[in-house]
Symmetry: C2
């Protein structure tokens, strides 16, 4: 009986041919040879080698150490390449060429799949923003007056975006409780996560020219999960008046896999009803496609599920975020990454940060290892997610995981 | 009588051999051939060609389309290259080789000299921050409680950093006066400047490892002027709670020339006395070199001087900013750029923004073309600066200039 092919996936595999996320990998025998891979089941297809073997015109675009050339190529090429890949992994006649180019996931190293240009982080969950407002500004309205008129965002540090699996060193910095006479310095004692979805920009835009809502899919290539690690004590002391800085800039983890938007068509859903009429550049009521995505996220700490944030509850959509980010003429570059903001739903177990889950440390979580308010050294946090795909099959998003290692002294 | 050599500079030329700033240029006959140039007087030396002609080992490092390879090479190489350049433009025996490689500034196009990795903007002038606090938050203390304990900063958009001479399109966006019932959309009516100094990082640092004060010169290569264009109406409506975003991200202009730190040794001065004891990682009282720079900035609008901000008054130094930016383990990359924050002195005519000079539009400036509160389309803003150099000679910083063009409709 012949060995089963890695292309014969179990029914309903979330990484089947309906998904085909892109990443960058290397193998143990050629550790410096980074190249584009496409995930199929629990294997990685060497996409450039497959293109070469099958005479595809995209061989040189795919035999690259980052996704950036593919990202820059634009939507027509993205569609063509995806169509070709789908054929390569599904048409029986290609098996002889393709099977030797499949590597078990356990045999490869996955790398940061794209060079990050600018990184922007939004704040687009009404539930998250309301919770944070209550916690950080108890004497004010939880949502600032601008919140329902524009998707609030800020720039983060792109140089410290790391791929899933990278250890996170506990950051040190200044903190000052309101009752302290002066700030103290030391390792953060309120190290937290933020469960987010990251959007990866492919095609650039012209400086000075806003990108309208309708052009979202001309520019955004795909999505992944994102953990915006946050040191709440550092953040609380530093962030007025110019926003988060060192409380966030030490590390941001992203999935090794970028799922193309085309794999998520069945997951599009309408965003929540808006409470205020929107200015025309943000008004998506007449857009062809609904702007939201029905992504179901799971947050685990040391393997224990602590939250299940529903992305469909996000108030602002990725297309609105893109339109807002460029409405002042700011240009997009290939590799720009923007985060949705922490995803929190209305229920307690749907909150995407420990700040919210423990109400700033008041209500500890019970984990098998003991009580948790914020992260301890050695804790490993993993985000996973899936979305409804075609014919009831799930589309898996690549996980993002990271372990806390002690502060440097 | 032989033609005078471009190397025979007038006495006291601020771009003499004591300065030697680096840039990237191309010529009309080879517009795509960008290469490193060094300014001497009103000429540009093709540095890579000079290195080749004189058998320098740095020919390939200098025959590059950006400064990034030189920046990445580190302080020992920076010193060696500067020593070689100094000899090339001063030793008479080299004239025959060097003179043919000099291009009049008027014949070349200057480009963005380095690829910007992350861009951070600080807020380190006490006078500026106090003025802005009074204007934006009239009911609160002008300086937030953290201001004298840490150099406040935030990340900006590196993809919209442009070289001096690039037109700036007036940004559109949301604004809402406190008396308006809802935000309105349109071209900014409060377009402003911020006169700053930009610091360019050369040598990278390891992720997870803070860069101490004493290592400032191992990492920072040089400085230039920076105009952090700001739309005050957009900024005022958006910036609470996560800081400036679209009010700044449409454009940031930088000098085409980067003056190496070694040219500024005579300009080092002690920063102002600090009002609070600093945490050890920021405490520079025991550092060998004083942390400030005596840079005299001039701001002109359409050729008219409107302000003369003194950089020596800055409360936080560039070394402190670097130490703070990395104390949480955030890494540095070659091409990281950080701005000092708007430079404003204690006097009215020393304020580095129109927000302050006109007190948010209350007190118009009288220009030959008419009254100015904020910038009009067609206005051209230029920052220039000089610093004391060796033997009483001035060190000129490359200007940064930009003209406002109308909003896109």
């Amino acid at each position: 009986m012949p060995e089963q092919s890695p292309l014969d996936l179990p029914e309903g595999d979330p990484f089947g041919p309906h998904n085909l996320p892109y990443g960058v990998f290397s193998t143990a025998d050629e550790p410096d040879h980074r190249r584009v891979g496409v995930r199929i089941g629990s294997h990685v297809l060497d996409a450039g080698a497959a293109a070469r073997a099958l005479g595809s015109p995209y061989a040189s675009l795919l035999a690259q150490p980052t996704l950036n050339p593919l990202l820059a190529a634009g939507r027509t090429v993205w569609r063509d390449v995806r169509r070709a890949l789908t054929a390569w992994v599904t048409v029986p006649a290609h098996r002889g060429d393709i099977e030797p180019l499949l590597h078990p996931l356990s045999d490869v190293t996955l790398h940061l799949p794209y060079e990050v240009a600018d990184y922007v982080d939004f704040y687009s969950s009404e539930h998250h923003s309301t919770n944070v407002g209550h916690i950080f500004r108890p004497d004010s309205e939880p949502l600032t007056p601008n919140w329902k008129h524009l998707p609030i965002g800020y720039h983060g540090r792109s140089g410290t975006v790391v791929v899933s699996g990278t250890d996170v060193v506990r950051p040190s910095g200044q903190r000052k409780a309101p009752t302290d006479p002066a700030p103290v310095f030391g390792p953060s004692v309120k190290l937290d996560i933020e469960a987010e979805v990251g959007f990866v920009v492919g095609a650039p835009s012209q400086h000075g020219r806003p990108v309208p809502l309708a052009d979202y899919r001309e520019h955004v290539f795909g999505i992944g999960l994102l953990n915006d690690w946050s040191a709440r004590d550092i953040q609380a002391w530093e962030y007025v008046p110019l926003g988060p800085f060192l409380g966030k800039s030490f590390a941001t983890s992203v999935s090794a896999w970028v799922t193309p938007l085309e794999a998520l068509d069945a997951a599009r859903v309408a965003p929540p009803a808006r409470d205020f009429p929107l200015l025309p550049y943000l008004d998506d009521t007449a857009e062809e496609e609904p702007g939201g995505y029905d992504l179901r996220i799971t947050v685990t700490i040391n393997g224990q599920v602590v939250a299940e944030p529903p992305f469909a509850t996000m108030y602002w959509t990725a297309a609105q975020q893109l339109a807002h980010m460029t409405v002042n003429g700011a240009s997009l570059r290939t590799g720009d990454l923007y985060g949705s903001g922490t995803v929190s739903g209305p229920e307690v177990h749907q909150r995407g940060s420990l700040l919210e889950l423990t109400w700033n440390g008041r209500d500890a979580l019970d984990l098998p290892e003991g009580k948790r308010t914020f992260l301890e050294d050695g804790d490993e946090v993993t985000l996973t997610a899936w979305a409804p795909g075609p014919n009831g099959v799930r589309v898996g998003l690549g996980e993002v995981t990271g372990r806390i290692v002690p502060a440097v002294h």
